[in-house]
């Protein structure tokens, strides 16, 4: 039997749901709704302290996995950790079944409307829909007219934001079709929560999400006639939901590509890979409609592929969703949907929209009662958003009215939507907060499949009127409770049914580029950290050795340019700054950021562990709880475990080769610079020790030569000794080996990279006998400089052959019109 909230438990004792509005957890008389009973009882036995601990585990897990959402604010955009509340929202399957039917019907209806709008436009001609609602809508793309024959599906992926009114009925408050976000976050939320509350999750019999994603992949594959070369087109790492795009691409086994990775040739879409062009059959598009093709849509877009629309017309590629769908992200449609549903499907609209009036009709009577309505433009954009008239002054309201009068057709007025509330964990108790559910449907055969779950967002502010992630909402998982447990389905385990896409075989050039730089930055960070460690150790041991400090300063300058810190106090300050100050170009923190930025573009290629390790570095530096020396040790430890994870878990394909090449090139360049700065002349013994320590070869040296510091011996170990994994010779041999396996390149002829690496090795072997003694200092210097030249050439050659995948794209117009008339 359901019990009243206040009769029990500590977790909910202060849960007060105001008088109006539906609450997901408790009913009007304050009783817990039956389908929540099991969860509440279970959480009760977990207890508030444990819950708080698990909530902090969620945060830790999310931080370490780099689950982020990019927020755009006055500071120019930053990454925010994805906020997930421990308490899911529950719904029983009977109630969900009704919503599911509604979503399917609505998706089918919107698909039919799209086919009509980009085809015969009967809905307008026959008066079911006012022309202005479509023709004046910013999302109506004339280039999409006639894109497909009307019997071909237009809408494939659909998302709806749902709000539950005081009567318990769900309403659609917005339709999302351009590039709906959040399905990946919903999946991530599920993964996190099922780990955090494993037994509760298991015993709650929650519908799994995996089948939905399998439907999506199967549908894309079937659309392309069984083609499985699928890609997710992302606007790039700066996009607010980049994390989930990378996450989804990885989960679905799609290549994550940007516009510049694609090219249209012979009416087909290709991915530029290290091995040349590879055709793409299907594209899951996360780039907004007008950016998809600069030829026919927004001419200055660099996010799409020129000629994509023609490839779509030719039927050589399927794009989900096709450009033009944004015309139905249009509240101007709402008043007309019930009748259109009757007309097209012969059914009543199951899932109603928020109560909406189109200002193009009965304008004056709407304006008369505007004060308690919400006004929205039919095409929303950043400048043009919903306004709650209750919040306007008399003057502002008059301005709005005259704007509406000038183009009444471009506005709607809606009644304020009442949102239901759901419990949000507040450190030690639950409080009700307003929520919105985003649900998803994907085309399947001739209908749609609905994700049994979704992304719930709640407002942290108890009096909020809208909930968006951009404005600081918190997310929740949505659990649809099955009457009995479901079988576990994972895309990975479904090899038998569906061919898995092994995207690792075809490496986009941009990915190789990023991997190369991950290698270089990882090595660079490590190099600087080693120098800083040496400085801090010497300072801690009060070693007053001016010559040594001068050499260390010179070593630092390799990384950060000219320095000014001529005494030990200044040295300590400088060292700390070079560790934690992200504003100093080349500092450890700056390098780590560069490393993460390069890595972000290939998040789906680095293992989770490798990624987690990288993401731990910055928070630790930021906290500043450790002493500088411990911080440096900490950074070095993270970097070495990052390298370990890469070595242990990255497949040995071309991707790994590029990362390794970046690392080796950087390591060689840094050693050459260090040797040039520190021992190319005639250094004292204490200075001779420095490169050994920085290059991690000190122990080897001691073992071999006991205490004697000899210049020739140091040089031998650091430069010529091929068996020392830190020596220049060893790096060059590895480079030679790595370059030999580089993919062939049409224009490059026979592997010039390998030739350069061989020359480097040969030069070193030739010089071995002649340059080790102090008398040969100038020749040694010369050798180091020549090797540096080879390394630079190697890096440049690779850049030219493999990374110049982005060509300048420009628009061509038929001249200034002064030449035409």
């Amino acid at each position: 039997m359901a019990s009243r909230v206040e009769e029990r438990n500590t977790l909910l004792s202060s849960y007060r749901t105001g008088s109006s509005g539906w609450d997901e957890l408790v009913d009007g008389s304050g009783r817990i709704r039956p389908h929540w009973d099991f969860l509440i009882q279970s959480l009760e036995s977990v207890g508030p302290a444990q819950l708080s601990f698990r909530q902090s585990e969620i945060r830790r897990f999310i931080r370490e996995n780099g689950v982020t959402y990019n927020v755009f604010d006055s500071s120019g955009g930053r990454e925010r950790e994805w906020p997930l509340d421990i308490m899911p929202v529950l719904m029983d399957s009977r109630e969900w079944a009704e919503i599911e039917r509604g979503l399917i019907q609505r998706a089918e209806l919107l698909d039919l409307i799209l086919r009509d709008l980009y085809g015969p436009r009967r809905l307008i001609a026959e008066g079911h829909l006012p022309a202005e609602v479509i023709i004046e809508h910013g999302g109506f793309l004339r280039a999409s007219n006639g894109l497909f024959p009307p019997d071909k599906r237009f809408l494939h992926f659909y998302a709806a934001d749902l709000a539950r009114g005081p009567d318990g009925k769900f309403l659609v408050i917005s339709d999302r079709v351009q590039s709906p976000s959040g399905a990946g976050y919903a999946l991530e939320n599920r993964i996190v929560l099922s780990r955090t509350l494993p037994s509760i999750y298991r015993d709650s019999h929650v519908h799994r999400l995996a089948l939905f994603f399998r439907s999506l992949r199967n549908h894309m594959s079937s659309m392309t006639g069984g083609g499985n070369r699928l890609a997710l087109l992302t606007p790039g790492p700066e996009n607010e939901t980049y994390f989930e795009q990378a996450f989804l691409a990885n989960y679905l086994g799609f290549n994550l590509v940007r516009g510049a990775d694609l090219t249209v040739r012979d009416g087909r879409v290709f991915l530029k890979t290290l091995n040349g062009l590879r055709q793409v059959d299907g594209i899951l598009r996360r780039v907004d409609d007008v950016y998809a093709d600069p030829l026919e849509l927004k001419g200055d877009s660099l996010l799409g592929a020129a000629g994509l629309m023609y490839a779509m017309r030719a039927g050589s590629v399927s794009v989900i969703n096709p450009p033009g769908v944004a015309v139905i992200e249009n509240p101007g449609l709402y008043p007309f949907l019930p009748a259109i549903c009757k007309h097209l499907l012969g059914q009543d609209l199951r899932l109603e929209s928020a109560r909406t009036m189109w200002c193009g009709r009965d304008t004056e009577s709407i304006l008369g009662r505007l004060h308690d309505l919400v006004v929205k433009p039919i095409s929303s954009n950043w400048e043009n958003r919903a306004v709650n008239c209750r919040e306007l002054s008399k003057g502002e309201l008059d301005v709005l009215k005259s704007r509406i009068r000038s183009t009444p057709w471009s506005f709607v007025a809606q009644e304020v939507v009442s949102l239901s509330s759901a419990p949000l964990w507040m450190e030690d108790h639950f409080e009700p907060r307003k929520m919105v559910v985003r649900s998803y449907a994907c085309a399947r055969d001739d209908s749609f499949a609905v994700m049994p779950g979704g992304l719930v967002r709640v407002s942290p502010d108890p009096d909020a009127f809208v909930v968006t992630s951009q404005r600081g909402g918190v997310s929740k998982d949505l659990w649809i409770l099955a009457s009995e447990p479901e079988k576990q389905v994972s895309l990975i385990s479904s090899v038998g049914e569906t061919p898995l896409v092994r995207s690792s075989g075809e490496i986009p050039s941009s990915v190789a580029d990023n991997l190369f730089w991950v290698g270089r930055y990882a090595e660079r960070t490590e190099g600087l950290a080693r120098i800083l460690r040496e400085i801090l150790l010497r300072l801690a041991e009060f070693q007053r050795d001016d010559e040594g400090f001068a050499a260390l300063l010179a070593a630092l300058e390799i990384h950060v340019g000219p320095m000014d810190a001529r005494d030990s106090a200044g040295m300590e300050k400088a060292a700390t700054r070079l560790l934690v100050d992200a504003a100093v170009t080349g500092s450890v923190r700056w390098d780590v950021r560069a490393l993460i930025t390069a890595g972000r573009g290939l998040r789906e290629r680095l293992s989770e562990d490798a990624w987690r390790t990288l993401n731990r570095i910055e928070p630790d530096l930021e906290k500043g709880e450790l002493s500088p020396i411990d911080s440096v040790e900490n950074v070095l430890l993270y970097l070495s475990s990052f390298s370990g994870f890469v070595a242990e878990s990255m497949t040995r394909g071309q991707g790994h080769r590029f990362l390794e090449l970046g690392r080796r090139i950087e390591r060689t360049l840094l050693s050459l610079d260090l040797l040039l700065q520190v021992i190319a002349g005639e250094p004292s013994e204490s200075v001779l020790e420095l490169p050994l320590r920085i290059q991690n070869s000190y122990m080897t040296y001691r073992r071999r030569y006991k205490t004697k510091m000899d210049r020739a011996a140091v040089i031998d170990l650091l430069v010529f000794d091929e068996s020392n994994p830190r020596s220049v010779a060893h790096q060059l041999l590895r480079l030679e080996e790595l370059t030999r396996g580089l993919p062939d390149h049409k224009e490059a002829g026979r592997n010039p990279e390998s030739r350069i690496a061989r020359q480097g090795v040969a030069l070193l072997r030739l010089a071995e006998e002649t340059v080790r003694t102090p008398a040969e200092a100038p020749a040694f210097r010369e050798l180091l400089i020549r090797e540096k030249t080879y390394l630079r050439e190697l890096s440049d050659t690779m850049t030219t052959h493999y990374f110049r995948y982005v060509e300048t794209q420009q628009r061509l117009e038929a001249g200034e019109w002064s030449v035409t008339t």
């Binding site: 001609a125 249209v264 628009r811 200034e816 002064s818």
Partner: protein, 298 residues
């Protein structure tokens, strides 16, 4: 009936190599009530790897081509044979205008006619607002017959806007034209559209060619041997009628229509996305030749 041979050659010379390009050309004259394409042909050099044609939203012919071999020069040659019939309605420099309903009634009818909605909107080159309504107000006096009012606007633009080649470019707005009082045929046309639409009257951009320098005493026409632009005005009785504010006329048999649209952006003769190439120089040559009558097959 007149038969024309029209050649429209566009040449791009690039500073450096273009690796490939995707283009759309709108340079094929469409079929209209008074115009019949007899033979149309587009030749591109270097030879495109891919071509395709479609009718756009406004019913214009759009030719797509992709050149995939490296090139430093691109040439698009459009050759057309077109028959033009003399219009039965008003035309020429002193058109005899039939009686028409008051312009306010055209506005009311436009509101009820969904398929002219596109031509009432602002467009990227056509602003609307009181400035334009004011400019046209002495033409559109209350109750004035529609065709008379539009003809008056056509004359007013010709009289008050100076024809100054090179004074404007594709980024010139209708506000600039109104303020500077000068421009070329595109500006004249965009201004006319701005005025019409600001008054709630459907009007469309027409792009095409015009015959020039004919021997036999006809006056020289502006915009000759180049692309030309004029506008169409809609009314529920006749449909669309064309006006040429640059030449103070209504087209008779010397205007050849290529495309219709909301403004220049919808009909620009050539657009493309080019990879590489650096700076480019574009040359356009148009020739419009009337065929000697005896050669015609009609």
């Amino acid at each position: 009936m007149v038969r024309y041979h029209i050649t429209h050659r566009t040449t791009y010379q690039y500073a450096s190599q273009v690796s490939h390009c995707h283009n759309e050309a709108q340079i094929t004259p469409r079929r209209t009530a008074t115009q019949t394409p007899i033979d149309t042909r587009i030749t591109v050099s270097p030879r495109p790897a891919m071509t395709s044609a479609r009718d756009d939203y406004f019913g214009n012919r759009v030719f797509y081509f992709a050149v995939q071999e490296a090139h430093q020069m691109l040439e698009i040659l459009s050759e057309n044979v077109i028959d033009i019939m003399e219009p039965s309605g008003p035309s020429g420099r002193e058109p005899v205008l039939p009686s028409s309903m008051p312009w306010e009634e055209v506005r009311a009818a436009a509101n009820r006619t969904w398929d002219v909605r596109d031509f009432l909107m602002e467009a990227s080159h056509v602003a609307t607002g009181p400035d334009f309504a004011d400019f046209a107000s002495d033409c559109f006096t209350p109750g004035r017959p529609f065709l008379e009012a539009v003809w008056a606007l056509n004359l007013k633009i010709n009289n008050e806007i100076a024809y100054v080649p090179g004074s404007t470019n594709v980024s010139t707005s209708t506000f600039d034209v109104l303020r500077e009082r000068r421009g070329v045929c595109q500006d004249f046309t965009h201004l006319a559209l701005a005025c019409m639409r600001s008054l709630g009257l459907p009007a469309r951009y027409v792009s095409g060619y015009i015959e020039s320098n004919r021997s036999g005493g006809r006056p020289h026409l502006q915009g000759a041997d180049a692309s030309h632009a004029w506008f169409g005005a809609w009314n529920p009785e006749i449909g669309w009628l064309d006006f040429d504010p640059t030449n103070k006329s209504m087209p008779y048999d010397q205007h050849i229509t290529v495309s219709y649209g909301r403004d220049y952006a919808d009909i620009s003769p050539l657009r493309g996305i080019v990879f590489g190439g650096g700076k480019s120089v574009c040359r356009v040559e148009v020739s419009v030749q009337r065929q000697v009558a005896s050669m015609s097959n009609s």
